[in-house]
Structure formats: structure tokens, C-alpha cells
């Protein structure tokens, strides 16, 4: 998890708007989509520039051929084939056109379309990310609630400190520790052990293969989820409307559950959405440690083989997922929070 990904989760200032027809909702969604267009253009330009000649890495033909010496004729053929003699903007337009048509180019090494390769790997990454999100939701929310409700107690200190440890833990190291303990050592000691690599084998059901990679991938995010849950609930518990609820005669538990959770959960739910997208990119390390045949491991392998179309194609797919998730989160935010649903949010 990158640092400070949660910039999106804020209430912003809300202006009143009493016209509560569904039109506002549609307008809101339309505005969000419009706001995505410059981001989309920016992202594609960056990725396009990165694979263009003269920028980083230099010559794209060299990127293809690597260290091998090639004849000038072959070189020129390649330039022509990839349209590298065209002006910059034509190349960009071609690139965009290909993207829109789902054409991510051809893998250098596997002589298969990149889109096809990634399409094969995508369900594996999705499965891993879903398992991780599930772990994160259960443990993050429970730990956060305990920590907030029993503030300053032993449990609060424990949760706060262990979340600090988790965010400081290199995920790949955690993965290796799990492999040693539950995979190798448990096997050595004759205990039931877990598989340390791959996502299926004859010896284990698939779900058992999922356990350690999912825990590893979820570790940092769970810590963040717990922290957000805790701070949101604490903030909500200090609100006047909680006192109003208590003044109605609701019990402490009911006040927190009925009145607190709905308010506190709004940012937490949106966090899960954003984090799910972030996980798509964050799987490189976890998948590499566990040889999990997903998009992340594919990227790692492709970098080693200098198979740039795969790297770029996977990146752009992940970025699209992130952007789509942002949009979904914004829209669900509007459904969850009536202040945004009926009002105009001012940045």
C-alpha cells in the first residue's frame, strides 16, 4: 500500500441544495466522469511517452532486441513495422486507437497478444485480491471497532501498536516468514502445513493455496483499515448527534451501532473500494514471493525478459481498474451519504 492513498476519502464542503430530484445524481456522476477525462489523457500520455524513443530507456527497437546486434535493414523494417517513423502525435493517436480497441500489442517473447495473456492471468489476481479484501474487512473492521470502543485499554494499545508494525513490515518478508514457519518448519515438525508456492497442486485444495498469499497481501491494508475504522469511529463518537442519541435513551451499544457505525463506515467502505484497486498493482511482490500466476508475477517475469508490451499492457489495465474503482467509489459515496447525494460537493 502506498503512503497516503486515502486522499479521496474526505467529506469536502457541502453546499445545500434542496432540489432533490434524481437529476442531481446524474449530474454528479456525469461531472465525475468528465473529471476523469484529463486523468485518462494524462495517464495514456505518460505511458505512451515512457515507451517512446528518445525518452527513458532510449530506442524502442533496442528495447525489443536487447543486446543482440541487428542489421540496419532489419532495424529499419522494425521502425516501419511499429510506426516509429511517424510523427509523435500520429503515434499517440495510433496508440490510443489500439487501446480503445483492446489491442495492447504483441508479446515479444510469447508471440501472443498481450491482452490475451493478461486475460488468462487476470482471474488469478482477482481471486487473490478478493480473498485479501475479505480478510481485510473482517479483521480491519473488528480490530478498529474494538480499539475505538475500548479506547486507551490494553486492546486499543495492542491494535494501535500492531497496526504500526504491520505497516512497517516489508510484505515480501512477511510472506517469506510465513513460508518458513507454516510451509517448511511445520512440514519438518510433522504438523499440518501449507503450500508455499503456486495456486494449485494435487496435494492441496485450491483454497489452501490461497491462505498465505492472501494474508500477506492483506497485511498492510488490514492495518490501514483498522486505523481508519478506529479514527472514524472515534471522530463520530465525539459528535453531538451521538449525545442526542444517548439522550433519547438508547444504550451505549445501540448508540454506537445504530448511529455511529453508519457514519463511520462511509469512509471505510470507500477505502475498501480504493484499496481493492490498489491491490491489483500491489500484487507484484506477493505474487512473486508465492509464485502466484497472476498479473503481478507476469509483470515481474516480463521485466526480467524485457517484454515491454506485457509490462505496459498490464500497467494500463491496472490503471484503468484504479480509475474505474475511483468512479465507483465516488458514486457509492453519493449513495451512502445523503449530503452528497442531494447536494453539490465543492472541492
Amino acid at each position: 500500500m502506498p503512503w497516503g492513498t486515502l486522499h479521496r476519502v474526505s467529506h469536502g464542503n457541502i453546499l445545500l441544495d434542496c432540489d432533490y430530484s434524481g437529476r442531481l445524481m446524474i449530474k454528479y456522476i456525469a461531472r465525475r466522469i468528465l473529471q476523469m477525462i484529463p486523468v485518462f489523457i494524462g495517464v495514456t500520455i505518460i505511458l505512451f511517452v515512457l515507451r517512446s524513443p528518445g525518452v527513458v530507456g532510449g530506442d524502442p527497437i533496442r528495447m525489443i532486441t536487447g543486446e543482440r546486434a541487428i542489421s540496419e535493414t532489419l532495424y529499419n523494417q522494425l521502425v516501419e513495422r511499429y510506426g516509429l517513423d511517424e510523427p509523435f502525435y500520429v503515434q499517440y493517436a495510433t496508440y490510443l486507437n489500439d487501446l480503445v480497441h483492446g489491442d495492447l500489442g504483441q508479446s515479444y517473447n510469447k508471440s501472443r497478444p498481450v491482452a490475451e495473456i493478461l486475460w488468462d492471468k487476470f482471474p488469478n489476481t482477482l481471486r487473490l485480491a478478493l480473498a485479501a479484501i475479505l480478510i481485510e474487512m473482517v479483521f480491519g473492521i473488528i480490530a478498529g471497532i474494538i480499539s475505538a470502543v475500548k479506547r486507551y485499554s490494553f486492546w486499543d494499545v495492542l491494535v494501535t501498536f500492531s497496526t504500526s508494525v504491520l505497516v512497517s513490515l516489508p510484505v515480501f518478508w512477511l510472506g517469506m516468514l510465513l513460508q518458513i514457519l507454516f510451509g517448511l518448519k511445520f512440514k519438518e515438525w510433522g504438523l499440518p502445513y501449507l503450500p508455499i508456492s503456486g495456486m494449485s497442486s494435487e496435494r492441496f485444495p485450491d483454497i489452501v493455496h490461497l491462505i498465505m498469499p492472501a494474508i500477506t497481501l492483506a497485511s498492510v491494508s488490514t492495518a490501514y483499515a483498522a486505523r481508519i475504522m478506529r479514527s472514524q469511529l472515534l471522530e463520530v463518537m465525539g459528535q453531538d448527534y451521538m449525545r442526542t442519541a444517548a439522550a433519547k435513551g438508547l444504550s451505549h451499544g445501540m448508540v454506537i451501532w445504530n448511529h455511529g457505525m453508519k457514519n463511520a463506515m462511509i469512509p471505510v467502505v470507500t477505502y475498501f473500494g480504493l484499496d481493492f484497486a490498489a491491490m491489483m498493482g500491489g500484487t507484484v511482490l506477493t505474487e512473486t514471493v508465492f509464485n502466484w500466476p497472476g498479473i503481478g508475477y507476469e509483470i515481474f517475469l516480463a521485466i526480467g525478459q524485457r517484454d515491454w508490451p506485457i509490462v505496459m499492457g498490464a500497467t494500463i489495465i491496472i490503471v484503468f481498474i484504479v480509475m474505474a474503482m475511483n468512479l465507483i467509489v465516488d458514486i457509492s459515496y453519493a449513495f451512502l451519504d445523503p449530503r452528497i447525494r442531494y447536494g453539490r460537493q465543492v472541492a
Binding site: V39, P170, W173, M237, G238, I256, V322
Partner: protein
């Protein structure tokens, strides 16, 4: 609510109880004169035992890294060079008095490599974050100061960066730039600025809205003076907190990149590439991965705890 207001007005014991009666108590109690903001912050930081422990550990790591040349090669052994005559008998020795953290597959002392790895990690943390802060402050200030089209361009650019999952973008950048420490600096620095710019921009904007800035403007202070005298001191606190935490993040990123073989290249030691080496000997020589991992964990944790402590002490509100 645990944090005190800088004015020193709020002393009430506020537990986060649902009834919120605490808020009443806090407004109903007045205490003595306000202490100076900085002294107050230092006093509060000192009270936070975890933050102090973090700071102490950071200082120890810095001292170890700076003085490494003076003792590590003599006490522990050369971190890089391989003595081919004795390498065979010194391979993969488990921890002992001679080699407190054991030796690696080429007979080098792991402790010595961990010590030299601290240099890399701290260097990456400080340099990369310095780059990110420099770009971020400039961009954030430009966006907040000029507003309008500049604001839009800069913040949309930041949005573009945010659309990339951080570690993935770092990996792709390094893949294209080529491996090596320098490119790690660049990647982390370039990827870090949007967060800093956002934090700085929003704190400038929020300070700008404060009444005392209006008052200063009404009294005819120049814009630059207002920016320097009134806005900067208030906007700096979140940056300090953010930068401290980012150093921890940068160390983790470097470790991840080196682990993937994209950061510091062997034979030079870095905690990340040591862990990469250790993968092949997970069962036979677990010390190879234990010590570099602990080094990363404790150092990053120290920065995180210090950052948390600074946040509380400076009363910075941050979204986690």
C-alpha cells in the same frame, strides 16, 4: 480529542465516549496561559514513549551508518569483498561470536552487510523524500498561490500520478530507467511529490482562510510577507509529519525494489537485495533473511512511530 489545542485552553479529559458530554467538560474548563507552540509540541513529543523510542532508534541507525567504515570491516569483516581462499569454509555459517548474524553464501559477514545496508536505506529515505518534498512544496505552493489554471493543471497532474498504484509505477519506472540506486532516488522522488503537493496546498489554503491572515492583509502586509510570516509556519507542521512517515515508506520501497532485483545491485549490500539472496536458503540458513528483515522493520517502524508522535504533538489532522 486526546490532543490538546495549541491555545492550551482545552484540558478536559476527554474520552471518546458516545455521549459527547466530554465536549461540554472541555469547553467549561479554562486553564492558565498558553504555552509557546513549539515548546508545547516538544513537551508532548517527549511524553510519547513510542515516539521517543523511535527517535532513539533512528539516531542509533544513523550513527551506525555514518561510522560503519571505522569499525565494521575490522570487527565483522568486509561487506563486499570475497576472500576466495577462505570462502569455501566460511560459507553459510550460522550466527556465532565471530559472525553475530552468520555469513552468506559467499562467506561474507551478514552483520557487516546489514550495517552497510543501513547506509543505503537511510540515504534512499532522506534523498528520495527530499526530492519529493522539494518538488511537492514547489508544486503545492504554485497551485495554492496562483490558483486558477495553474491549480487545475498541477492538481490534475497529481491525479494522474495517483491513478498509478505506487509500487507498480515505481517498478515500471525502474524497469525503464534501468536498475541502480540513482534511479531508485528518482523513482521514489518523482512518485512522492503529488502527496506532498496536496498536503501543502490544502494546508496553505486552509491557513489562507483563517481570520488572522485576513487581518494581516487588511493591515497591508504584502502577499509574500503573509506567505512567509503567517502561512508557512502553519503549513509546515503537516509537511514535517508527512515527510517523516514518507521516509519509512521510501525505505520500504527501496527494499521492495532491491528485492525484485531492481534497486541496489549485488555485490553491494542493501537490506532488500539481501532478502532476495536469502530466498534460496530459507530453510538451511534462515538468519540470512531474519536480520535484514528485522533491520527494515525496526527502522521503518521507528519512522512511523516518530511520525505518529509528531502528528499528535503538532496536532496535525491527517487522513490515514
Amino acid at each position: 480529542m486526546r490532543k490538546k489545542q495549541p491555545t492550551g485552553e482545552q484540558v478536559a479529559p476527554v474520552s471518546g465516549d458516545a455521549t459527547g458530554a466530554a465536549a461540554v467538560a472541555s469547553t467549561e474548563v479554562l486553564t492558565g496561559p498558553a504555552r509557546s507552540l513549539r515548546a508545547d509540541a516538544i513537551r508532548r513529543l517527549k511524553k510519547n514513549k513510542l515516539a521517543v523510542a523511535g527517535l532513539v532508534w533512528i539516531i542509533i541507525v544513523i550513527l551506525v551508518a555514518i561510522t560503519a567504515d571505522l569499525w565494521a570491516p575490522y570487527w565483522l569483516g568486509d561487506p563486499v569483498a570475497i576472500d576466495s581462499t577462505t570462502a569455501a569454509e566460511r560459507m553459510l555459517l550460522s550466527p556465532s561470536v565471530d559472525h553475530p548474524f552468520g555469513t552468506d553464501k559467499l562467506g561474507r559477514d551478514v552483520a557487516s552487510r546489514v550495517v552497510y545496508g543501513a547506509r543505503v536505506s537511510l540515504l534512499v529515505g532522506v534523498v528520495a523524500v527530499a526530492i519529493a518534498v522539494a518538488i511537492g512544496l514547489l508544486m503545492g505552493a504554485l497551485a495554492a498561490y496562483y490558483g486558477g489554471i495553474w491549480d487545475a493543471i498541477i492538481m490534475r497532474t497529481a491525479d494522474v500520478f495517483f491513478a498509478f498504484p505506487y509500487i507498480l509505477f515505481a517498478i515500471v519506472l525502474i524497469a525503464l530507467l534501468g536498475p541502480g540506486l540513482q534511479n531508485v532516488f528518482i523513482a521514489i522522488g518523482v512518485l512522492g511529490w503529488p502527496s506532498i503537493a496536496r498536503v501543502f496546498r490544502s494546508s496553505i489554503l486552509s491557513v489562507k482562510e483563517n481570520e488572522y491572515v485576513d487581518a494581516a492583509r487588511a493591515m497591508g502586509s504584502s502577499t509574500r510577507r503573509i506567505l512567509l510570516r503567517h502561512i508557512m509556519p502553519n503549513a509546515v507542521a503537516p509537511i514535517i509529519v508527512y515527510a517523516t512517515m514518507s521516509i519509512g515508506g521510501a525505505i520500504l520501497t527501496e527494499a521492495a525494489l532491491s528485492f525484485l532485483g531492481m534497486g541496489v545491485q549485488p555485490p553491494d549490500p542493501s537490506w532488500g537485495n539481501m532478502l532476495d539472496d536469502a530466498r534460496s536458503f530459507m530453510l538451511t540458513a534462515p538468519w540470512l533473511m531474519i536480520y535484514p528483515g528485522i533491520a527494515i522493520l525496526t527502522t521503518v517502524l521507528a519512522f512511523v512511530l516518530l511520525g505518529d508522535g509528531l502528528r499528535d504533538a503538532l496536532d496535525v489532522k491527517m487522513k490515514e
